[in-house]
């Protein structure tokens, strides 16, 4: 993408690509990634970081207070959480719903990008942030011989 001054076709394709993306976003039920209306759950924002030997998933869980409100489970390649909020919140759902709905819990299943050892996972909750660390599963490699 070059800028600033191209008034030629390159700029047009930028704009139309942008519009396509935005329209997709708006009409593809974008809310679905943040809310689950059937189960009345919020899906939390999260972040996955992979380092050489550790995978860390961090979740933003405002209104979740203590570890007794959390239910966590993991497999080699996925992590699931359910968290109860201190008290229910009302959030306005836009789009075609146009309703103020009550939510009192988070629920999320995350597919992990690499395989981990779930039994060695460590989780900590502080300031409404949940940090879960997994050691990455080591696959036994073999040394490469050079001719």
């Amino acid at each position: 993408m070059t800028y600033p001054d191209d008034d030629g076709r390159e700029e047009d394709s930028d704009i139309f690509a942008e519009i396509d993306r935005t329209v997709d976003e708006v009409f593809s039920g974008f809310h679905r990634s943040l809310f689950d209306l059937e189960t009345r759950c919020l899906k939390p924002l999260y972040r996955i970081e992979v380092s050489e030997d550790q995978l860390t998933v961090t979740f933003d869980l405002p209104c979740v207070e203590g570890k007794e409100d959390l239910l966590l489970s993991a497999t080699e390649d996925s992590f699931s959480l359910e968290a109860k909020m201190r008290k229910p919140v009302f959030l306005m759902i836009g789009g075609h719903h146009q309703k103020n709905l009550e939510f009192d819990k988070y629920s999320k299943k995350v597919k992990l990008p690499v395989k981990v050892n779930p039994e060695s996972a460590k989780a900590r909750l502080s300031n409404g942030l949940l940090v879960v660390r997994f050691p990455i599963k080591k696959s036994s490699g073999s040394s490469v011989k050079i001719e």
């Binding site: 993408m1 800028y3 600033p4 001054d5 008034d7 930028d14 704009i15 942008e18 519009i19 993306r21 935005t22 329209v23 976003e25 708006v26 974008f30 809310h31 990634s33 943040l34 919020l42 924002l45 972040r47 961090t58 933003d60 405002p62 209104c63 919140v89 959030l91 836009g94 502080s126 409404g128 942030l129 940090v131």
Partner: protein
Amino acid sequence: MSKVSMASATQKKVIISEYAASNLDKPSVIVGFPEAGLVGTIAASYLIQTLSLPELGYVESSLEPAVIVVQKSMPKFPIRLFGKEDLAIFISDIPLTARLAYELTDEIVRWSLLHNSRVLIGITGIPSEERVSMEGKPRVLSVSTAERKDPIIEKLGGVQSFDEGVIAGGYALLLKRCLSLNQPNITLLAESHLQFPDPGAAAAIIDVLNPLLSMNVDVKQLLDESEQIRLKMRELMSRTQQSMQQMSQQAAPRVYA
């Protein structure tokens, strides 16, 4: 109110329109874009509310996505201008593409020069891994185009300066344009989350702005409503994540120093 640029060969991509002649007088211009931790947007929004700043105008651009946000049954321009007397605030409710940011920051700096702005202040977050486990207030770092002996810099007091590194994104563009057009710029970066809304970092920014601009904005309400803000801003944060990724693909490998 002037919407048309004079003597310009190419059509203007970004236009700042003011509703009426304002009483702005050599304003300090604060700019709040959604970036790391939505710090700029949260702080700008809180200032506008707390100081009851009137809406002075809006930005229109052919580079904006074709969206409008409806709030309380009213359609709103996504990028707006608020202010009175010696304070103006540009606030964006949409994440900026690189292209839009380039043109928008250029126009904002030119607007500031036209209004004899004393200083343009960029407010944003600088992502920090320690933020997750941080107990107290996050630090605020400052970058400034003004000289050390400039009286404005003195009011920064003990704020630590950002001495080495790379800054990327809309605020980098603001700094560049301010440098080239000679508009004094102070950019404040609060240690923040990258991908989660961070009202605590926004509050730390306001604590630095208070002595800088001789204001007395109380951040207590901002901190009390921290959880609600984190909930309400999830959607904007999610959209901003995508846009930050796109911008960072064009920057140095370590996006934020």
